[in-house]
Amino acid sequence: MSSDQIFVGLEIGTTKICVVVAEGRSEDQISILGVGETPSRGIRKGEIVDMATAAECVREAILDAEEKTNVEIGNVWVAISGGHLRSLNNRGIHVLPHPRQIEQEDLDQVQTNAKEIAIPPQNIFLHTILQSYHLDGNRNVIDPLESEGMQLEADFHIVHGMKTRIHNTLRCVESLKLEIEDVVLGSLASAQVVVTQHQKDLGVLVIDIGGGTTDYLIYQDGAVRHSGVLALGGDHITNDISVGLKLPIARAEALKIQEGTSTDPTESHGGVITVKNDPGFLGCEIDRRSLETIIHCRVREIFELIRDDISRNAGDLLGLLGAGVVVTGGTARLPGIAETASDVLDQTVQITTARNVGGPLQTFENPQYSTAIGLTKYARLVTRDLRPVSLMDRISKGFGGLFGRRER
């Protein structure tokens, strides 16, 4: 089996660390060989707060994956998230001295020009994702290569984040003698497998609600228009339950998984939930309506924050989505979350897991694995040998290799 056909996606999440090993197939397809995972320690809100512990957890997850798949893991693709990530759209302009055929160098130059923007000094670029080209006023040119023109412009969606925090994730992985192929924005990775190209063309909002962060990405006309990360997630729901109902965190987590729903408490059936005795913990009876109120408030607020952020940064894009909203990530398993999202975002909402991938059913049926699976799909798209000229390919090239930039 040639090693370059194997892709390994590593997601260092707040709840769990997940390693997906997948095999590249024809037609951009991937087939999952196996998943290694371990519960996370030393990670808060998607960022490493205890390097040694986190590295140990990553090691366990990698070993688990190696054991299950019989693949020796050397190179990984790493997903990144965290509240420090910021995004913006910018247009690069490149004027040729005289009209001639557009060459690859010109495309590179226009991308470089687009990055001539002020980002905070402590930040570095994570992604420069192509939205569209304009050639001599001809808007939305899909591929200007070999066309004749003079003024080449291109819109990019740029994601940047704090250098030190991105490096911390990298150092954690490098300390395990793993080679990093590239780092990828978590929501961008998820989007590769939870939505289809057709949905991206129609316009879709992808929301990945994990344990510590909520990542979202909005596509319109096949290109990324806006992205964002909120340092809020399932952990906050658990914490709210713990604070509100005066339960230990572990009890609150179990209660959330077993009984939690995000339905509107005004439609609650009411009733009482009995929390059993435990050594060191006296059992109690909880009003179901209280639990629902706590969860509903938090979930609603998360969607409201996303809605407000999009309307502030991308205008009324939310109203123009042809394919609605897609929710994935571990917290997407919370019953009633789609109704709450639909209510806030005024869009049709689907809970989705990875699609168009082959392999053991239980892995891609779980929205928890979307990001890690998405990483392998992303890897497949970026590194495929055959390069048919398509928009997707151009976008793929737009994804910057962070390492290339670091060396420069």
Binding site: R44, K45, V49, G83, H84, P121, M162, L230, A231, L232, D235, H236, N239, D240, S242, V243, G244, L245, K246, L247, I249, T274, V275, L282, G283, C284, E285, I286, D287, R289, S290, T293, I294, C297, R298, R300, E301, L305
Partner: protein, 408 residues
């Protein structure tokens, strides 16, 4: 000239005053309008401040006459003067009020920032300091009193004597800088001189002061935390940061920092203080955001508490500010506990009506806010969006009541 209109003068008097101005000059070499006055040629020789007035040794009254004219020249054209020094010593205790009277007679706004001696420095010194403080209050528009004894209460008993004095100097420095900053604020968000008078015009009230600076993306939260942890803002016998602010009527908040200080940050600061002081507290905010980007943000809080009596200037004749008029009460051996009782019990009706009910009674109902719960996120970096700390459970922030769990 317009420069003259806003000319400010900071005068350091006595050994402590010289030390503080030295620190000030070193911290901000561009600061103009510094003047040191002392009778110790040695200390004057060692200072980095250019403008110095040497008072001849001997009777301070004679000494004052010797520098009277020169001081008049320095004051001329200034729009306000900040006097700072440590009370208790012969020089500062006489010179500070004398200089204040002189400056005041020139029609200049005068604010004083003085340190009260430690208890171990002797009763004689304490009495001298209180006498001088009474005079200062009668003359100055605002007097900020830093009680060294209360500062020392926060440091461990094994702390070196030098450290205790250094802490006192640093606090005095921060306080005079804050006063200076407050008097310099201009524009839409400013602290007026009337505000300063309301808070610092009352004699005998305990001055609560805290200051903190930080930079980086989380600068506001860090600065606020440092400021609230200042020993003068912690009620005696408690450990909660900012506990002394509970029930205070007016709080002056000054934000000094780079020009990229955002509206949301100002809002966060105000709501952070409001959370502690209760919503009946009036927060007067001043913003001086003119420094270059990258400089740390400094957040300072001044408030006063206790049974301060306001003295109107008309009620004080020159004879009343003589030493005999003030009878130190037996309880003043610890000057920090209360700087001094109100000067006279025969205060006129105007003071009677302004007296507030004791703070502890006023805020019984708001104690819950003090235990604002972030649960497991207590120690982690807060998620702040639009000035709201999103780690605090949503239902708490929205004030939704839950039925408590019943222990079985």
């Amino acid at each position: 000239m317009s420069a003259d209109v806003s000319r400010r003068l900071i005068v350091g008097v006595g050994n402590a005053g010289v030390t503080v101005l030295d620190l000030l000059a070193m911290a901000d070499p561009s600061l103009k309008g510094l003047l040191v006055v002392n009778n110790d040629p040695e200390s004057l020789a060692g200072t980095v401040v250019r403008d110095r007035l040497t008072v001849p040794a001997g009777d301070p009254a004679d000494g004052f006459l010797a520098i009277d004219e020169e001081f008049g020249k320095s004051v001329a054209g200034a729009s306000f003067v900040v006097l700072c020094g440590g009370l208790g010593g012969e020089t500062a205790s006489f010179l500070l009020p004398a200089l204040a009277i002189h400056a005041k007679s020139n029609g200049v706004t005068v604010a004083a920032c003085v340190g009260m001696p430690f208890a171990f420095e002797g009763k004689n010194r304490t009495e001298l300091a209180e006498t001088a403080l009474g005079k200062l209050h009668a003359v100055c528009d605002a007097v900020a009193v830093i009680a060294n004894e209360r500062l020392s209460g926060s440091s461990p008993s094994t702390a070196a004597v030098g450290e205790a004095f250094a802490l006192a100097d640093r606090t005095l420095l921060a306080c005079s800088r804050t006063l200076h900053g407050m008097l310099s604020t201009s524009g839409p968000v400013r602290i007026t001189r009337a505000d300063l008078k309301t808070v610092l015009g009352a004699f005998g009230a305990k001055v609560l002061f805290g200051s903190g600076s930080a930079s980086g993306s989380n600068r506001l939260h860090e600065a606020l935390e440092t400021a609230l942890s200042s020993p003068l803002l912690i009620q005696q016998g408690k450990t909660t940061p900012g506990s002394a602010l509970l029930g205070v009527k007016t709080v002056l908040l000054l934000l000094q920092g780079p020009s990229d200080l955002s509206f949301a940050e100002v809002q966060t600061a105000v709501s952070g203080i409001e959370r502690i002081a209760g919503d009946r507290c009036q927060i007067k905010t001043g913003v001086l955001a003119t420094l270059s980007a990258g400089t740390p943000l400094t957040l300072s809080i001044i408030a006063s508490s206790g049974e301060g009596a306001r003295i109107s200037k008309a009620e004080i004749s020159s004879s009343e500010i003589l030493p005999e008029a003030i009878e130190p009460s037996p309880g003043t051996a610890i000057p920090g506990a209360a700087v001094a009782p109100p000067i006279r019990k025969t205060t006129k009706s105007s003071t009677g009506t302004e007296r507030q009910p004791s703070p502890s009674k006023q805020t019984q109902g708001t104690l819950d806010l003090d235990t604002y719960q972030r649960g497991r996120f207590d120690k982690s970096e807060p998620t702040i969006v639009a000035g709201e700390d999103l780690d605090v459970p949503t239902f708490l922030r929205k004030g939704i009541k839950l039925s408590p769990p019943r222990r079985s």
